[in-house]
């Protein structure tokens, strides 16, 4: 029983790490640009498929580095060509646009790589279990946890220590003033979008190693990521991180007792947060 509990909690942590990675990217874009990026799951799929294509040439590690960066470039390009035109307009329009993009990306990946599920090679020593008593704990899962933790740490360091991060945080609070102070807001939003998409691409590579590749691989992650943001509080990145891990672990623990409710518990948590504390756990009062 304790081993089962440990397994499900750990599993929940991994799922939570994915939610958090996705939700942090969504949150970055939402906070600075006011765009709900429905195509985030599509970018995740692009990350995974690009890595799949790159592995024969550069190996797993090369793909792990290169694929998210390439995904981020695609994101930056799309922001420049399409999404930028919609800033300052009703959020309805950017929502519809990214919604259409999600359709196009999913169908596009299906067109290029085929609809069938593709296997994803990870190094053999990562795929092996750590020990026979902890048979479920493969090296890959531990590696994912460590990598996600490192990336999240790096993200928070970038946001708190670098000039770019400072500007992103300032822009979240008052974009107009940041613009008046001489920061090129167009470039700032562009880079910020790329940063968010980078996280989605990275999540895509990691998820493909665990689940294999399908064109709709992002579908099951996008809704929980929204909920992670709502639970954690809009406008707060630490909140988003906490929200993602929290709902991941909650659904992991629920799996032990009511396996069929593991998905539902996420929505119950969202409803509870909205009733008791509509701004979310760490959200600021009156921002929305």
């Amino acid at each position: 029983m304790t081993q089962l509990l440990f397994f499900d909690v750990f599993n929940g942590l991994i799922i939570g790490a994915f939610y958090a990675l996705m939700a942090l990217g969504l949150s970055l874009i939402l906070n600075l640009s006011g765009v709900i990026n429905f195509a985030h799951g599509g970018f995740l799929a692009i990350g995974g498929y690009l890595a799949y294509t790159l592995i024969p040439y550069f190996g797993f590690w090369g793909a792990l580095v290169a694929a998210p960066i390439l995904t981020a470039f695609i994101g930056i390009l799309i922001e420049r060509v399409l999404i930028r035109r919609l800033y300052g307009r009703d959020p309805l329009y950017s929502l519809l646009l990214t919604f259409g993009l999600a359709f196009m990306i999913e169908d596009g990946t299906r067109f290029i790589w085929g609809a069938q599920s593709l296997p994803f090679q990870i190094p053999g020593w990562l795929a092996a279990p750590l020990s026979s008593s902890l048979f479920f704990l493969t090296g890959y899962r531990v590696f994912m946890m460590v990598l996600v933790a490192a990336v999240v740490l790096a993200l928070f360091l970038i946001l708190s220590r670098t000039r770019l991060g400072l500007r992103i945080r300032a822009g979240t609070l008052d974009l107009e003033t940041v613009s008046v102070l001489g920061v090129n807001v167009r470039i700032l939003r562009n880079l910020n979008f790329g940063l968010g998409i980078y996280l989605a691409g990275l999540a895509g590579v990691l998820a493909s190693g665990m689940l294999g590749l399908q064109p709709n691989i992002g579908d099951s992650l996008i809704m929980p990521s929204f909920i992670a943001i709502i639970v954690g509080g809009l406008g707060s990145l630490p909140g988003t991180l906490a929200g993602g891990v929290l709902i991941g672990v909650a659904s992991g623990v629920t799996t032990v007792f009511f396996p069929s409710a593991s998905e539902a518990v996420i929505y119950v948590m969202m409803a509870a947060v909205l009733i008791v504390r509509p701004r979310g756990l760490l959200g600021e009062e009156g921002r929305f």
Partner: protein
């Protein structure tokens, strides 16, 4: 005076076109079910527009209430009573109650946050329908039932075998719903909703209970969306979780935007264009999803005011 007459003429035109649709549609290459589709999804989009266009709140999760109406109707006929009117009533009841319960949780939220929560809540019902397969049939949906002839006592209308009869049933429901919505929008309540849309802060200072009005508008919108859903299940004699999913919600929003959200008939026009396009695309190409996606992008970039918005601007210039 002129504008008033134009409006009257437009109303008359819409009703004449709708009333005679089964007779002129075959002439232009359509068929009756296509018309029924337009009327039903047009009703769903108009219900959404009550909220989106006339209250100014963005719901991106209306498929939930549409789908609940559909499931309510389908399961009533399959498991409870084989009666079409009761099925419609049940469907509307289920969808409206769900909307009324969820409403208070989101009515205080605004803008993007409101939209995001409607998306997430919309997904709840998709999961229930998908996971609880012993009752809902899971991914396979509720099948092996069909709509029942309506028994009026002295005569019976065979809406199952007669497509035209079902079209006129759907149109009757549509007319009632459209009439009620138009009446509501002309009432002081509707004017208050417009005031909230135009300037929420001012409305609040005037002492209008804004959250309660948004909640009411939300429930009314859910009510008509679930009516459309119930009719949709009856049209297909089938319902599956896709009726509840977020892409359905997006479809309602794009129909509304495409037709023109500041216009009462806009969503219906948008629904007509969208459905004919989808019908054509899906018969010509496998990759119609990417074309629909591209269509979303193009509408947002080039037709943000919709067809009717465009016409209005042309005529006022």
């Amino acid at each position: 005076m002129n504008a008033f007459n134009n409006k009257r003429a437009a109303d008359a035109l819409v009703w004449v076109a709708l009333l005679t649709a089964p007779y002129w549609m075959p002439l232009v290459g359509g068929y009756t079910e296509l018309g029924t589709h337009v009327v039903i999804l047009g009703l769903a989009a108009m219900a959404l527009n009550f909220l989106l266009g006339f209250t100014g709140v963005l719901s991106f999760g209306h498929a939930a209430y549409f789908g609940l109406g559909a499931y309510g109707a389908a399961m009533t006929i399959k498991f409870l009573v084989p009666s079409t009117p009761l099925a419609i009533l049940d469907g509307v009841l289920v969808g409206t109650v769900a909307g009324a319960v969820i409403g208070p949780m989101i009515a205080r939220l605004r803008g993007v946050y409101f939209a995001m929560c409607t998306i997430a809540f919309g997904q709840v019902f998709y999961f229930i329908a998908f996971q609880w397969s012993s009752v809902t049939g899971g991914d396979d949906g509720v099948s092996a039932w069909h709509r029942m002839p309506i028994d009026l006592g002295f005569t019976s209308i065979d809406i199952f075998n007669d497509n035209k009869a079902f079209y006129y049933l759907a149109l009757t429901m549509f007319a009632v719903a459209a009439g009620v919505m138009a009446w509501l929008l002309r009432s002081p309540f509707g004017r208050t909703l417009l005031a909230i849309r135009e300037n929420e802060r001012r409305a609040r200072f005037l002492g209008i209970p804004v959250d309660r009005h948004i909640w009411l508008s939300w429930v009314i919108s859910c009510l008509f969306a679930s009516l459309a859903g119930a009719l949709y299940a009856l049209l297909n004699d089938f319902v599956d979780p896709r009726a509840l999913r977020w892409d359905m919600s997006g479809t309602f929003v794009i129909m509304t935007v495409l037709g023109g959200m500041r216009n009462f008939w806009g969503p219906l026009i948008g629904a007509a264009i969208f459905i004919v396009l989808q019908d054509q695309l899906s018969s010509h190409t496998q990759n119609w999803e990417s074309f629909i996606g591209l269509f979303f992008v193009l509408v947002v970039l080039f037709f943000p005011r919709g067809v009717l918005g465009l016409i209005k601007r042309k005529t006022t210039q």
